[in-house]
């Protein structure tokens, strides 16, 4: 190769192009910066609008009376706006759900990470993810038809819509979150710890219980907190099975009493309230309280996990989050509280034989554990861990088979292609299917460019600093915001303030905001997986940063980004709360002509059929099945893409 001597004019020309390309680089970077800032802007707008619309009620009754007032009676002659029973209701449902879900999840997580063979794991992990993929309205539907009935018959009470039903159902919904995050935590305990323990002759169970689980404790704690966040923010399922009486159970441990949560109140009353009234403002007040609670919960989980990751990056000599003494007293305390709660539950509701059995087991454990050999203890422990896993699987199978078996007879060509008749008792669900597809496609069309842009900015354009911290916190906050709060925000800001009206567009935007954090996170992950050496290789050839990003970094990251997008579509397709007040109508014979018209949607259709339309059992199940298949279809594609992509990178 021969160097050509550059003439003077060529040099000036190249200087001019350099200047131009510099300008282009700067403007590209600016665009990405603003997409990243968008998450922060949305969070501040949500806060702003919730506070704006809730201000009147705080001004009128005062914060203490609002939070601690004993009666919630917004439609009484003299309306009372005390949300104390709702806060207690949320708290009780959450405690109940955790009592049920935590032992099961940790057992299942231990099984998955330490006992399962790679082949079993390959089947079990997607099964757990499937549990996460079931839309909450389908859970609610199952709870309403099967679970409450079961509780009504078993305990011989007039209605099964109770605290117990809500806690069981929400516990199931929290399982996948807790299982997958704890499994992650246990699996990432350094291998040397395990080998060290086994090498001094500890049994596998001793190694698990005394080395692995304690080492993973912060991660497991974060998992539980995330699970709590999921339960507190859940709307549709709890609304359908909790009975919704705004009372504090009497006595307080009566798990067969109905109760009402903060979220359910919003779900029930938001649709019927007149805009701008005291009641309307009180509902926004509830949303503020709800938001504050979930944000505290989620941010603390995020803080724990981040602390863990940083500690891991710095190597094994890390400071424990809590000192061992605190840990010891904490676990002692948790043990006592756990047993006490369990006893209260039993005394309150369980048949006598269950109480006797439980007492027997606890007694046997306390007196017998020193006499048992380590081998026997291990057998018992593995048995329990296996049992937990079997229960989790059984729950999945029961839910799926109930919906598939009862739903299949409804599926026909007519059902899929005709509009509903007679309030959905007859006819089909075609407009609902199309409406849901319109909603999710629009949502992803909005969320994908914004989310990918934000992720590119965070990973490629900035160094960790104050700005990235602010943006990341914004994304975390958005991620922890309950879906019903998005619904309220969409209604207050998009439908009313921007005067878009209840419409397809309003629903698409609201759903887009909801899935934005997922898109950002998954894109960030896949960009971070691209080796730094490729970026250096490209830059060393004199490529600009944008050329490097667009031609070398993004192409191999596309499958990962796509996976995130499809997961988001699946999630958006199953959501009811965000579209309930922004986009949907129950019945329509026609498809919308423009994005400014409301649409039908599968989850909302199922919700109304299940709660407001008696009879029509086949069509209910048919709708549930179609929705389930749609969402699970999206999830399966995403999971398949991910595994395929991972194999490709490895091989």
């Amino acid at each position: 190769m021969i160097f050509t001597k550059k003439t003077d004019s060529a040099v000036t020309a190249s200087k001019r192009t350099a200047r131009l390309s510099f300008l282009k680089e700067q403007s590209v970077k600016t665009i990405f910066f603003f997409t990243a800032l968008f998450a922060v802007i949305v969070v501040s707008f949500i806060l702003l609008f919730l506070l704006r619309d809730s201000y009147p009620i705080f001004a009128q009754v005062g914060l203490p009376n609002f939070l601690l007032g004993p009666d919630w009676a917004p439609t009484a002659m003299v309306p009372l706006y005390g949300i104390f029973p709702l806060i207690v209701g949320t708290l009780l449902v959450t405690i109940g759900a955790m009592v049920f879900a935590v032992p099961l999840s940790i057992g299942c997580a231990i099984y998955l990470s330490e006992l399962a063979s790679p082949r079993t794991k390959k089947i079990l992990k997607p099964a757990v993810e499937l549990l996460a993929g079931i839309p909450s309205v389908v859970y609610g539907f199952f709870g309403l038809i099967v679970l409450t009935n079961f509780i009504r018959v078993s305990f011989d009470i007039p209605t099964g819509e109770t605290w117990l039903a809500a806690s069981l159902l929400l516990g199931v919904m929290a399982l996948p979150t807790i299982i997958s995050v704890s499994e992650d935590a246990i699996s990432s305990v350094p291998h040397e710890y395990k080998e060290g323990s086994l090498a001094i002759g500890a049994t596998r169970w001793q190694t698990i219980s005394r080395v692995l689980v304690p080492a993973a404790l912060s991660g497991i704690a974060a998992a539980v907190i995330l699970g709590i966040g999921r339960v507190v923010g859940e709307t549709m399922a709890v609304l359908m099975v909790a009975g919704n009486a705004a009372i504090i159970p009497d006595p307080i441990w009566n798990i067969l009493s109905p109760l009402r949560t903060l979220t359910a109140t919003l779900g029930i009353e938001m649709g019927e309230v007149s805009v701008g009234s005291e009641h309307y403002s009180a509902l926004f007040g509830i949303a503020v309280v709800l938001l504050v609670i979930t944000l505290i919960i989620n941010l603390s989980a995020v803080a724990i996990l981040r602390h863990l990751n940083e500690a891991r990056a710095k190597g094994p000599a890390r400071k424990p989050l809590v000192s061992s003494a605190t840990k010891e007293s904490l676990s002692r305390f948790a043990e006592v509280i756990g047993i006490a709660l369990f006893l209260i539950f039993l005394l309150a509701a369980a048949p006598w034989w269950l109480v006797a059995l439980a007492l027997l087991i606890i007694g046997a454990w306390y007196f017998g554990r020193d006499r048992l050999s380590q081998k026997h203890i291990q057998t018992i422990a593995f048995g329990l861990v296996g049992l937990a896993t079997v229960i989790v699987l059984a729950i999945l199978v029961i839910i799926l088979q109930d919906i598939v078996i009862n739903g299949l007879p409804a599926i026909s060509w007519e059902f899929l292609t005709q509009p509903p008749k007679d309030l959905g008792r007859a006819g089909g669900i075609f407009p609902a299917i199309v409406g849901t597809l319109y909603l999710v496609m629009g949502a992803i069309a909005i969320a994908l460019p914004l989310g990918v842009g934000a992720a590119v900015y965070l990973v490629e354009y900035t160094r960790e600093g104050r700005i990235t911290r602010i943006i990341r916190t914004g994304v975390d906050l958005l991620n922890g915001t309950p879906s019903i709060v998005f619904g309220l925000f969409g209604f207050a800001f998009i439908v009313l303030y921007l005067n878009v009206g209840v419409s397809l567009l309003a629903g698409q935007i609201t759903l887009a905001l909801m899935v934005l954090p997922t898109v950002i996170r998954t894109t960030e992950e896949s960009l971070k997986n691209i080796p730094q050496s490729l970026r250096e290789g490209s830059l060393a050839l004199g490529a600009t940063q944008w050329q490097t990003i667009s031609r070398v970094v993004i192409p191999p990251a596309v499958p990962g980004i796509l996976t995130g997008a499809i997961l988001s579509i699946g999630r958006a397709a199953g959501e009811t709360a965000p579209i309930m007040f922004t986009a949907v109508i129950f019945s329509s014979r026609f498809l919308p002509d423009s994005v400014f018209q409301p649409v039908m949607a599968l989850p909302y259709h199922l919700f109304i059929l299940a709660t407001n339309v008696p009879g029509s059992s086949t069509n209910k199940y048919g709708t549930a099945l179609v929705l389930l298949l749609l969402v699970i279809g999206f999830y399966s594609v995403a999971i398949f893409l991910r595994t395929h992509f991972q194999n490709k990178i490895r091989g």
Partner: protein
């Protein structure tokens, strides 16, 4: 050094956070010669190399003082465009890092980002570069296969071809043979020998025999300082500094 210098550094200091990685390094790199930088691990030779195309810019919390000039222009001057600089100063990395694209696209990437669109011209550049990097005969039948399917040695020569395609003036090589077998290493060394006709090559290596074989000039670095620099024969046979002699004779390192 008697030959004309293309790169000159004057009192360069570099810190990663609080840790000083380079201490007042002053070196002249002669044009159209092969210069090797040797020294024990962590002595700063790769850091110095990455100063020449400002790749250290990518790392957080790096501070550089002192002056580095290329063709008498300060590479840190505000008027210097880092993209233009990197076009003039190519780099081959320790581990081969072909892009996950076809062999053809890997070589064509550089010319493309610098605005060459004409297909015939691209074809010409790709063939010339691959020939120059002594890999053309091995890949000419499968230019449209993925570059990831090549062996390590082939990938490294492809990366060299990719660098040549941009027609740089200087080629930086950061232990280019450390992940290769002896046969592939021999091929790359032969290649370096021929490259100096058209290019200035700076190679970082921990292999003293390699430095002795391929380079005209050698610099010895230790704990972030340039201890000694001169003609390769002189450095290896009559080092002036005791530290250099200890290292060359294998007393530490």
């Amino acid at each position: 050094m008697s030959d004309a210098a293309i790169i000159t550094t004057n009192n360069v200091n570099l810190w990663y956070n609080e840790k000083q990685a380079l201490q007042s390094v002053s070196i002249k790199i002669p044009k159209n010669r092969v210069t090797s930088l040797i020294g024990p691990s962590g002595c700063g030779k790769s850091t110095l190399l990455r100063c020449f195309n400002r790749l250290n810019d990518l790392i957080d919390h790096v501070k550089i003082t002192g002056e580095i000039t290329l063709d008498d222009e300060n590479i840190h001057a505000p008027s210097t465009d880092v993209v233009t600089l990197r076009k003039k100063v190519g780099m081959v990395f320790q581990k081969p890092n072909p892009f996950p694209k076809t062999i053809y696209e890997n070589v064509a990437y550089g010319p493309r980002v610098h605005g060459v669109r004409d297909k015939a011209e691209l074809d010409k550049i790709v063939e010339q570069s691959l020939r120059h990097a002594a890999i053309w005969d091995e890949v000419k039948e499968r230019l449209n296969d993925s570059a990831l399917g090549l062996s390590g040695g082939q990938q490294q020569r492809l990366c060299i071809a990719r660098t040549l395609a941009v027609e740089p003036e200087v080629i930086l090589m950061d232990e280019p043979c450390s992940s290769l077998d002896p046969i592939a290493t021999a091929k790359i060394e032969n290649l370096i020998e021929r490259l100096k006709e058209d290019y200035t090559v700076i190679i970082v290596t921990h292999n003293m025999q390699q430095a002795a074989r391929v380079s005209d000039y050698t610099g010895f670095m230790y704990l972030g300082k340039l201890i000694e620099c001169g003609k390769t024969g002189q450095i290896f046979e009559h080092p002036k500094e005791e530290l250099t002699e200890n290292y060359i004779t294998g007393r530490f390192g």
